[in-house]
Subunit: 129 residues, 2 copies
């Protein structure tokens, strides 16, 4: 998430994998909205295969699966968040919200005050010197 | 930075560029230690060209340059942090330190408690079901 010039990326790791992060949270929210992995993939302009792999990876990282697929129907069969899925998404979004306090820290304000709105072009700088 | 299962990446943006982040902070610290861009590049196993471009980009993002190069000597000529450079690095590292509180938040603890130490292997999961 971006707060002024500060960009904060939070991820939860599980071994050498990412259990949760901005991309997976967005995918699970889309799945909750669309009611299937294929629908979530379409709404995010992502391939079905990629969406399936991300959901599977997340499920394997948590002690309880976050997503359950309904029987039958192939790719178009329904999928939904489990109670653990709703809890994990809510906690991740709360963690992101909590991180906003960093933008108010003295360190962040010090840096922000030193940074231009846009980088000086390489040409202009060469001219200045 | 990594605190248990929580991975936090902080960056300061400037237009469509990164003014400061973990990689640039590490490069500027190496430059401060080694006394030249070429020495910093060598110590980080990075090409001179890439190190030079990163230093230049950072300089163009701040209102005052963070690095100044000394006259003469081509690639081996010295470079050092300016007072603004020391201030920016200290503020960035302080911001990273401040972010550690997020690992103590209820949201982070909730997520951490739901995540396995290692992902379940795809094969094992298939067998479980």
């Amino acid at each position: 998430m971006k707060i002024g010039p500060l960009l904060i990326k939070l991820r939860m790791i599980c071994g050498d994998r990412f259990a949760m992060g901005p991309g997976k949270a967005q995918l699970l929210e889309a799945l909750d909205r669309e009611g299937s992995i294929s629908g979530a993939a379409r709404s995010l302009d992502m391939s079905y295969r990629r969406a399936w792999l991300l959901v599977d990876e997340t499920n394997r990282c948590f002690t309880e699966p976050l997503v359950e697929t309904l029987a039958g129907g192939g790719r178009e069969r329904g999928a939904r968040l489990t109670p653990a899925g709703h809890k994990a998404i809510a906690a991740f979004r709360a963690l992101e919200e909590a991180s906003a306090v960093l933008a108010e820290s003295e360190a962040s304000r010090t840096l922000a005050a030193m940074i231009r709105a846009e980088p000086l072009a390489a040409e202009e700088r060469a001219k200045d010197e």
